[in-house]
Amino acid sequence: MNKPLILVVEDDPSVRNLIVTTLKANEYNFVTAESGEEGASQAATHNPDIILLDLGLPDIDGVEVIKQVRGWAITPIIVISARSDDSDKIDALDAGADDYLTKPFSVEELLARIRATQRRLAYMNSASSSSVFENGGLKIDYAAGCVYLDGEELHLTSIEYKLLCLLAQNVGKVLTHKFITANVWGSSWDNDIASLRVFMATLRKKLESADSERQYIQTHIGVGYRMVRL
C-alpha cells in the first residue's frame, strides 16, 4: 500500500524528533517544518496527505496556519496542543482542523489518529457521491431517510437523525458543540448545548444497545463529538 505523505509542523526539536522517529518506524513518508510560515509553504509545495500541526509556534499562531491552508486545500489537519485549555482546540477545530492531540500524548495515540484519518481519506475518495453511508454495522440510506444497525432498522427522532447524518458526513472528524448546534438548531445557546448532550446520549444508546464494545460516537468532554470510522 502506498504510504501517505505527512507534513510535521513542530518547533520543539525533541517532540519533532519523536514524531519523525515514529513515522519512520511505521514507514510513513514525511516532511518537516519548524515554523508556521514554513509549514504553510511546505504544505503548498508538497501537497501532503495529512498535516500534523503544533499550535504553539514561534512565528504565527497555529490557527492562522489552518486558515491559510484551508484557503486552498482540504488536507486533513491534526493539531497538537500543549495547553490544557480547551478553547484553543475548539478554535482550531472551528477554523477547519479535523482532530487534535494533547501533549503529552503516547506514540500509539499518534499512530491511531493517523490511521483513523487515513481511513477517512479512503472513505471520502471512494464514497463521496454515494447516497448510502456505511460504517461497521451502521448503514444510513440518505435517499430513503432510513438508518439500519446490523441490518435492523433503527427508529430515530428527526433531531437524532439530523445529528447522525451530520456526524456521518464528517466521519472521523471532531465536530465542536458550536458547529453541531449551529447546523442542527441554527443557533448555539447554552441551552442548545445541554439539549445536544441529551440527544447525543439517547442516540448513542440506540447505536450501542446491540454491542456495548463497539462505539460509533466518541464524546470529547468540553470540545464536541466525533463519529469513529470503524
Binding site: S84, P104, N191, D192, S195, R197, V198, T202, I221, G222
Partner: protein, 652 residues
C-alpha cells in the same frame, strides 16, 4: 443631640467647625455657600443645622420642598445635616453649637427680624447672649422675608373652626362652674381660677397662641360681664377690678403659653426618643448580620417600616437594584432613570448627592470609610426634615454594617490566600523532593541504554525502557494534578462551569484509566438515566482519574474496580468501589489530608505525592459537593462523591 454620624467622618485639620443655619427660604442657599467656602478656607468641619419648630409641620409643601433642596445643597457642599427641635431658635442653635464645638456660625441677617415684637430681641442678639464664645458671621439678605410664612394650608379653616368650637365649649363649661360657685356663695377669686384653668386647657387643646390670647381675653370679659357688679354689664364698680382683670388676663395668657411650650417640647422629645430607639434597633439588627444581602434587605425593611415609603437600594457590587418585596404601595418608577440618579448620587464628590436627573426617588450614597457600597433611594414626597435626618442615619448604619462585612470578607480572603500560599510552598517543596527520584531513573536508564544498549540482553533492555515509561507516566499524572491545583487556587471562582451529562464525564475518566489499569478490571455501571451536573468537566474527570488511579495503585493485580453512577434525590452520586485490602482505621481520617500518602503498602512500590485525594476533596467541595470514604463489604473501600443535579429544559 447626639450626632450618630460623627464616628464616620474624617477629622478636620484646623479644629474649626463651621455651622450654617438652614431655613426654607430661597435665599438660604447663599448662606450655605458662604459657610461652605468658609469651611473650605479654614479646613474646617462643616455642619448645617435646621431647627424644626412646632409650626413647621403646618408649613406649605413649597416651603418643605425648598428646605429639602437647601439640605441637598448643603450636603452636596460637604455638610453634615442635623435637625434639632424647639421653638426658641436662638437657644437651640446656641445649645447645639456648644455641644458640637462650633467655632463659626453663619446666619442671614434678615432672618426672623420682620415680625419682631417690641421688647423681643432678634435672633442674632439672642444668639450673642446665649453663645458669646461663638464667632457669628452675618450675611446681609435684602431679599424677601425668608421665614416660611405660616400660611394656612388646605384644611386650615376647618382647624380654626374646630379650635373655635373647643374654646367656646371650654369657656362655656368654665362659666357654668362659675355659676355653680356663685350659687354656693364662693368668693370671686375662685371664679378667676376657674377661667384661668379654662384658658390653660384651651391652650393645650388648641396648641395655638392666638386662641390662648383670645380665650384669655374672652375669659376676662365673661367674668367682668357675668359676675362683677353690675352684673350683665362691662362696667365695673369696684376700684380694684381693672387691676384684677389685668392680672387675670396676664396670668391666663402666660400659663396658657407655658403649657403650650411644654406640650411642644414634650412632643419633640418624644420624637427624638422614638428615633433613638429605632436607630438603636436598626443598629443592633444590622450589626448582627454577616451576610451582605441580608444587611441590604433588612435596611430596606426597616426603612419601609419607618417611613411607609417606597425604598430602592442600589448595590454597587451587583450593579443593580435591590427591590424590596414588601413596599407599601405599588412602585411606579423607571428603573433606568433611577439607576442614573443612584449613580449620580454615588459619584457626587460630596458626602451626599442631590442630582438634577428626573425620577422620583431621593438618594443617599452608602459610604463608609471612604468606600462606596451603593445608594439608598426613597420616595421622599411628604417627608419632614426630621424624617430626612432619620433616613440619613439609617443609611449610615447600613453603610457601616456593609463596611464591617466587607472588612470581614477581606480578612477571610486574606486567610484563604495565606493558606493557598502555604499550600503552594508545600507543594513546591514536596515536588522538588519527589521529582528527583523518577528523573534520576529516567535520565539514568536513558543514558545507560544510549551508552550500553547493545550490551544488554533484550529482557534487561525492556525492563529499563518500561521503567522510563512508568516514571514518565507518574510525572504526567503529577503534572495534571498540579495544573488542576493551580486552577483550584482561585477557589470556586476558577471553575469553568458547564452543564454536562454525568455519564459522559464518568465515561471519559473510565476510558482514560482503562488504558493504564495494569491488570485490574475496571467496569462502569450506570442506570442510564440522563442526569446533568453543572461542573468544570475537566476537574471532575481529574477527580475520577485520581480516585481510579488510587484504586489501581492500592489494590493487588486482578482486583475489580467498579465506577457506579446513582440517582440520590437532588444529587448524583458517583462511587469508585474496589475489592482490595481496604484502608486501615488509623489512616482513614487522614486520606484527604495534604501530602498524606498513607502507611499502606503501595502495590507497585511507587511513592505518592499525597496530592491526589486532597485535590479531589478540594475540587468536589469547590463544586458544593461532598466526598466520602466508606468500607466495601467484605473488603476494599468505596470513595464516593455527590454533586447537585441540574434541571435542564430541552429544545426540540
Amino acid at each position: 443631640m447626639e450626632n450618630v454620624s460623627d464616628k464616620n467622618r474624617e477629622l478636620p485639620t484646623s479644629g474649626e467647625h463651621v455651622l450654617a443655619c438652614l431655613s426654607s427660604a430661597p435665599s438660604n442657599a447663599r448662606i450655605i455657600r458662604t459657610a461652605a467656602q468658609m469651611a473650605k478656607a479654614y479646613g474646617a468641619r462643616f455642619t448645617a443645622l435646621f431647627v424644626e419648630t412646632a409650626d413647621f409641620e403646618k408649613a406649605s409643601p413649597e416651603n418643605k420642598s425648598r428646605l429639602q433642596a437647601n439640605m441637598g445643597l448643603a450636603s452636596e457642599l460637604g455638610a453634615e445635616i442635623e435637625t434639632v427641635f424647639g421653638d426658641d431658635i436662638a437657644y437651640q442653635i446656641a445649645r447645639f453649637s456648644e455641644a458640637a464645638g462650633i467655632t463659626k456660625l453663619v446666619i442671614g441677617r434678615s432672618t426672623f427680624t420682620k415680625q419682631r415684637l417690641p421688647g423681643k430681641y432678634d435672633l442674632v442678639e439672642n444668639l450673642l447672649a446665649y453663645a458669646p464664645e461663638v464667632e457669628i458671621h452675618i450675611i446681609p439678605d435684602r431679599s424677601a422675608d425668608n421665614r416660611y410664612s405660616p400660611k394656612r394650608t388646605r384644611g386650615g379653616w376647618l382647624e380654626i373652626l374646630k379650635n373655635l368650637g373647643i374654646s367656646v365649649l371650654i369657656l362655656g363649661v368654665a362659666t357654668a362652674i362659675c355659676y355653680l360657685f356663685q350659687w354656693l356663695g364662693l368668693a370671686d377669686a375662685n371664679m378667676i381660677m376657674v377661667y384661668i384653668l379654662g384658658v390653660l386647657v384651651t391652650s393645650v387643646a388648641t396648641s395655638s397662641i392666638a386662641f390662648s390670647m383670645i380665650s384669655s381675653l374672652a375669659g376676662v370679659l365673661l367674668f367682668n360681664f357675668l359676675f362683677t357688679a353690675p352684673e350683665l354689664s362691662f362696667a365695673s364698680s369696684g376700684t380694684e377690678y381693672p387691676m384684677t382683670f389685668l392680672m387675670m388676663f396676664t396670668t391666663a395668657l402666660i400659663s396658657g403659653l407655658l403649657a403650650q411650650r411644654y406640650k411642644r417640647q414634650a412632643s419633640g422629645a418624644h420624637k427624638i426618643a422614638h428615633r433613638l430607639r429605632l436607630l438603636f434597633d436598626t443598629n443592633k439588627l444590622l450589626f448582627a448580620q454577616t451576610d451582605r444581602d441580608r444587611i441590604i434587605s433588612l435596611t430596606a425593611e426597616q426603612l419601609i417600616k419607618l417611613f411607609k415609603a417606597n425604598v430602592l437600594i442600589f448595590d454597587e457590587e451587583m450593579n443593580d437594584f435591590y427591590f424590596p418585596s414588601n413596599s407599601s404601595s405599588p412602585a411606579t418608577y423607571d428603573v433606568q432613570t433611577e439607576k442614573k440618579r443612584a449613580t449620580a448620587a454615588m459619584n457626587s464628590a460630596s458626602k451626599r448627592g442631590h442630582d438634577q436627573i428626573g425620577g422620583k426617588f431621593f438618594y443617599l450614597p452608602l459610604r463608609a470609610n471612604d468606600k462606596l457600597y451603593g445608594a439608598v433611594g426613597m420616595d421622599s414626597e411628604g417627608l419632614s426634615a426630621f424624617d430626612h435626618d432619620t433616613f440619613s442615619s439609617v443609611v449610615l448604619e447600613c453603610a457601616l454594617a456593609l463596611d464591617n462585612e466587607h472588612i470581614r470578607r477581606d480578612k477571610e480572603q486574606a486567610t484563604i490566600m495565606a493558606s493557598n500560599e502555604q499550600l503552594r510552598a508545600n507543594i513546591l517543596r514536596s515536588i522538588s523532593h519527589d521529582l528527583r527520584t523518577p528523573l534520576t531513573s529516567i535520565s539514568g536508564n536513558a543514558a545507560n541504554l544510549l551508552e550500553n544498549g547493545e550490551k544488554f540482553d533484550p529482557e534487561t533492555r525492556k525492563q529499563l525502557l518500561s521503567d522510563i515509561l512508568s516514571d514518565s507516566d507518574w510525572l504526567i499524572t503529577l503534572t495534571e494534578n498540579l495544573l488542576a491545583s493551580t486552577r483550584m487556587e482561585d477557589g470556586a471562582f476558577g471553575l469553568r462551569l458547564s452543564d454536562e451529562l454525568i455519564d459522559d464525564i464518568v465515561d471519559a475518566a473510565v476510558g482514560y484509566c482503562k488504558k493504564r489499569a495494569k491488570g485490574r478490571v475496571i467496569s462502569l455501571s450506570s442506570s442510564g438515566e440522563l442526569m446533568f451536573v453543572s461542573v468544570d468537566a475537566k476537574l471532575i474527570v481529574q477527580v475520577l482519574v485520581n480516585l481510579i488511579d488510587n484504586a489501581i495503585k492500592y489494590t493487588p493485580e486482578g482486583s475489580h474496580i467498579d465506577v457506579k453512577i446513582e440517582d440520590a434525590g437532588d444529587n448524583v452520586r458517583v462511587s469508585v468501589i474496589d475489592d482490595g485490602n481496604g484502608i486501615s482505621n488509623e489512616d482513614k481520617p487522614h486520606v484527604f489530608d495534604k501530602f498524606f500518602s498513607g502507611s499502606r503498602e503501595i502495590s507497585d512500590s511507587r511513592r505518592s505525592l499525597g496530592l491526589g485525594l486532597y485535590l479531589c476533596k478540594a475540587i468536589i467541595e469547590a463544586h458544593g459537593g461532598e466526598i466520602r470514604l466508606k468500607d466495601n463489604v467484605p473488603h476494599g473501600c468505596i470513595f464516593e462523591f455527590e454533586l447537585k443535579k441540574k434541571e435542564i429544559t430541552i429544545n426540540e
